[in-house]
């Protein structure tokens, strides 16, 4: 059961071989068994999930269903869900109950999917290891002493350990793709503006994007059909016509031009990872694709640019957590300023504070031009790199992350080394392009991800490119030990 695809589960539900309540209970039991150690979920609420499952069963009984009706999906705890505790993995929102539904949550609800619980993450999505969570670190199901990646580490661990059928993630600089790579999953960050940001707690507004995390590209296509769509409540949402993201699945890849950026295969890349990615490219050659060497010359600037822009936006986005209206407020304080200072000192973790400080600094009078404006200019150059590259190829491929999953605690005190985890993923966010990671093999029993970058709105083609590979490989079907 737990290894069935979304499509198979859908068929079983529709033909009443299993009820949504039974399926939901199966996953709830697995969570009860595995989550105490793995810590992939921050909040599980069996009553709520089972109530939704009952509704789904009623929908199925009347025949009014969608592809996801009755299927239990885990939601990253960054999405506000009405009546659900929504923490963003921060002490600041430890007891915050969602007063409304995020658009993404609403879309899954309308599709009849079951909200299985809220998954762990780096605090306010700031991190690449899930170690900044106020609710504790998450274990990588492939090696419990290692991190699952981040910030969507809880979703990644939950999907890999079969604690849910699929999950949502969000990706500001690699937060879907890097954990997907480290946990052996498929993860897709769509074109910026395709999925609504309404109700998705903001980290860096111009970069944040929601996307699916699942075991296969086919599963992701079904998720995309639900998650994506214009939302008038999000001014940056794109008024792009609805697409069927499954429509390209199965098309041959003959003549597909794959660009390999030389900057993605240089210094800093683990040798084993490089070999595995090359092997995946060879597989594509066999599938009829043509390989083109390209260059993304400003790649090395993407990390410094990102660490100016993302903290700048974050420093402002996180100002609302002031202890006045909701969330944590210090118990003891003197005047108003003291209340602010103590509340925020207590409510935010070290990484969040670091980014607020960086962001405040780069926006300050006298520094704004040198940092923020300069970074915006380079951001345009980085987007231009991709624009030029897509004149030569249809998709770009390379590693998702420079290494496999690292040990818990290994990089926790070294922010720069942690930031380098996102060296291959960040530029995609800066350009607003869609990016995806698919499992491409194992190095020392740890999963390695292949990154596939597409042009704007090219998700359907990218999903087929991933799907074609998953038809001739079985990396995505491997299961970690000790979770059966």
């Amino acid at each position: 059961m737990i290894n069935k695809s979304l499509k198979q589960l859908g068929e079983m539900l529709q033909t009443k071989q299993i009820s949504s309540v039974e399926l939901t209970q199966t996953y709830l039991d697995r969570i009860a068994q595995l989550n105490p150690e793995m810590n992939a979920f921050i909040t599980v609420d069996p009553d709520k999930s089972l109530a939704q499952a009952k509704q789904a069963d009623a929908m199925i009984a009347t025949g009014k269903t969608t592809a996801l009706t009755g299927i239990p999906i885990a939601q990253k705890d960054i999405f506000v869900a009405q009546g659900w505790r929504t923490t963003c993995a921060s002490k600041m929102l430890e007891n915050f109950i969602g007063p409304y539904d995020a658009t993404v949550i609403q879309q899954f609800n309308q599709a009849g999917a079951v909200n299985l619980g809220k998954t762990n993450m780096d605090e306010f999505a700031m991190g690449s290891s899930n170690e900044t969570s106020y609710f504790g670190k998450v274990q990588n199901p492939w090696d419990r002493s290692r991190v699952p990646g981040g910030s969507s580490g809880g979703s990644a661990a939950a999907v890999a350990a079969r604690l849910c059928a699929a999950a949502t993630g969000t990706d500001t600089g690699g937060s879907i793709r890097q954990p997907a790579s480290l946990c052996g999953l498929s993860g897709l960050k769509p074109t910026y503006g395709l999925a609504s940001r309404y109700g998705m707690i903001a980290f860096a507004s111009s970069l944040d994007q929601a996307g699916p995390m699942a075991r296969s590209c086919e599963d992701m296509a079904l998720m995309m059909n639900v998650m994506v769509g214009y939302d008038e409540r999000d001014s940056t949402s794109l008024n792009h016509p609805k697409e069927d993201y499954t429509r390209e699945l199965g098309k041959p890849l003959n003549g597909l031009k794959i660009g390999l950026p030389k900057e993605y295969f240089s210094e800093g890349l683990d040798n084993n990872v490089a070999t595995i990615v090359q092997a995946a490219i060879d597989e594509y050659r066999k599938l009829g694709a043509e390989i083109v060497d390209i260059s993304l010359p400003n790649t090395r600037l993407s990390i410094p640019v990102y660490y100016v822009l993302a903290p700048a936006e974050a420093s402002s986005n996180l100002s609302r957590y002031d202890g006045v209206r909701y969330g944590h407020r210090a118990k003891q304080y003197g005047d108003l300023m003291d209340m602010y200072c103590k509340t925020r000192a207590e409510g935010f973790g070290a990484e969040v504070k670091r980014r607020i400080l960086i962001g405040t600094y780069v926006l300050s009078a006298g520094y704004y031009d040198a940092y923020y404006l300069q970074a915006q200019k380079i951001r345009r150059l980085i987007a231009q790199d991709f624009e030029n590259a897509f004149k030569q190829c249809d998709v770009i491929m390379g590693p998702t992350a420079p290494s496999t999953a690292f040990k818990i605690g290994e990089k926790a005190d070294d922010p720069i080394s942690m930031y380098l985890q996102d060296i291959y993923t960040i530029a995609v966010n800066l350009a607003g392009l869609p990016g995806m990671s698919v499992p491409a093999g194992f190095s020392n029993n740890l999963p390695v991800g292949l990154q596939i970058i597409g042009n704007y709105f090219d998700e359907a083609r990218m999903l087929n490119v991933g799907h074609a590979y998953q038809q001739v490989t079985d990396w995505h079907n491997r299961m970690p030990e000790g979770i059966a």
């Binding site: 940001r197 903001a202 860096a204 001014s235 926006l363």
Partner: protein
């Protein structure tokens, strides 16, 4: 050496929209605290702003009214600071690229012989959201926050430092206050905070080019206070400088009880607002079509209406000016003329008796007990000779007091004018017979005596004789 005061204004005009500038919450004034605070107003995690198109149309209207450049691309920026009534920790405003650029407003200052006109340059006008309100002492020992007002759309209108006296500043503020109501973008209610002025004041020696250091008087919500505050501030600055002191750039508040201004914070304590473009909102694009669409619904502007009144109704400059000083007065006047009244008579009545009565009773013209049609009926009775001007005043009084319609009052009070020349002649003869002395005076060249005789005839007719006829008959008899 003489001193010169230099004044510039920043005015926050609350726009008359149904909902807030970035959410669907209502903007109605006076609701129970926080009942008009939706999840966006409360800055709940995850919420996003969506720009209210009506607010943009208001800004375009204003731009057209002051003959300004309207930016085809403007940008919303975040102004970051912490305050309990600012729920997001930043205010969405416009900084580098405002929606309305340079424009101008013509003001009339003073009255009578000293009256003069002046052109005040508008630097810019930009859209922004209002903050909520702190309510101190709502509960014992605690402050409350009311976020009903948070997110209410404002247009901030900034002038060049073009004003040189409190009178000019007040004339500008009044003109702006009238204009924003005229074009229907603001209700003008100053008590409720719909129109608030910050006044920048500095002084310099006359002839000096360089501006002095300014102090900003915040949040003036009455013209009287504005006048007092500027006068006090000007005196204070001059005295400080004459005593050898220096002016520190500062924000000051006016205390109406003491009539004094006092510094709130100095520039050293000023915030670094860390403005940057709001990534949640796309740049605001305004096309020529958008502007045309607003133009089609623009009311005739005061200046154009004034010129039309002069050419169409042959009204003197003074009348045209007064009648277009407010939209309500202009509308009233136009309605009186439309109902058949002579334009000049209508103008006299609107500016004269109607205005005086309204002033006395502190009423707006919209609340006048005599509507334009009724006033027109009254004026028509003067035009057709039914009643004299004097009688008309009595009828007006009676109508004001709700005693009925024009004709029934004329009837009831017996005010109908006597235009029967035989009857008037009889009265004239009576008066002449009894006033020989006056006749002699008149004949010896004293014109005053003639007027006295007219007065006597009018009196004898109880005011009902047609004055023109009285004049004519008297002249004939005395010649």
């Amino acid at each position: 050496m003489e001193w010169e005061v230099v004044i510039g204004l920043e005015t926050h005009v609350q726009l008359q929209t149904q909902s807030k500038i970035f959410s669907g919450a209502s903007t109605a004034f006076g609701a129970e605290p926080n009942t008009q605070a939706c999840v966006v107003s409360l800055a709940m995690p995850g919420v996003l702003p969506v720009l209210n198109k009506q607010a943009v149309q208001c800004a375009i209207r204003f731009g057209l009214a002051i003959d300004a450049e309207i930016a085809n691309r403007s940008v919303f920026a975040r102004k970051n600071y912490f305050y309990p009534d600012l729920p997001k920790g930043y205010q969405i405003s416009q900084y580098e690229l405002p929606v309305v650029g340079k424009g101008h407003i013509n003001i009339q200052v003073g009255s009578g012989e000293q009256a003069y006109e002046k052109n005040i340059r508008i630097t810019r006008a930009h859209l922004e959201e209002d903050a909520g309100k702190s309510v101190h002492g709502a509960q014992q020992g605690m402050s409350g926050i009311d976020l009903n007002r948070a997110g209410t759309p404002l247009l901030e209108i900034v002038t060049e430092p073009d004003m040189r006296s409190a009178a000019e500043a007040v004339a500008y503020a009044k003109k702006l206050h009238e204009l924003v109501q005229w074009i229907g973008i603001c209700d003008g209610n100053m008590q409720e905070g719909s129109f608030r002025c910050d006044v920048n004041v500095s002084v310099r020696r006359k002839g000096e080019e360089k501006l002095g250091t300014r102090r900003e008087i915040k949040n003036l919500n009455s013209f009287k206070f504005m006048q007092q505050a500027i006068e006090y501030e000007t005196r204070w600055q001059i005295e400080t400088l004459e005593d050898g002191g220096k002016i520190q750039q500062a924000t000051v508040l006016f205390n109406p009880d003491t009539g004094e201004t006092r510094a709130m914070r100095s520039k050293e304590e000023a915030n670094d607002y860390r403005y940057f473009p709001d990534p949640d909102l796309l740049p605001l694009a305004i096309s020529a079509d958008d502007i045309d669409a607003v133009k089609q619904h623009m009311p005739e502007l005061p200046e154009a209406m004034k010129q039309r009144f002069q050419s169409q109704y042959a009204l003197p400059d003074y009348d045209a000016n007064m009648l277009t000083s407010s939209r309500a007065v202009a509308d009233y006047f136009v309605a009186v003329v439309a109902a058949g009244a002579d334009a000049k008579l209508a103008s006299n009545w609107v500016m004269g008796n109607v205005a005086a009565k309204l002033n006395l009773e502190e009423k707006s013209i919209a609340a006048s007990p005599i509507n334009p049609t009724q006033l027109a009926e009254l004026i028509k009775r003067i035009q057709d000779g039914t009643i004299s001007n004097n009688a008309a005043k009595q009828v007006f009084e009676a109508m004001w007091n709700g005693e009925g319609e024009v004709d029934s009052i004329i009837e009831a009070k017996g005010l109908k004018q006597v235009s029967d020349s035989g009857a008037i002649e009889a009265i004239v003869d009576e008066v002449l017979a009894a006033n020989d002395a006056m006749i002699q005076e008149y004949k010896s060249g004293k014109d005053k005596a003639f007027n006295a005789l007219v007065g006597q005839v009018m009196k004898a007719s109880k005011g009902k004789a047609n004055p023109a006829q009285v004049n004519e008959i008297l002249k004939k008899k005395l010649s």
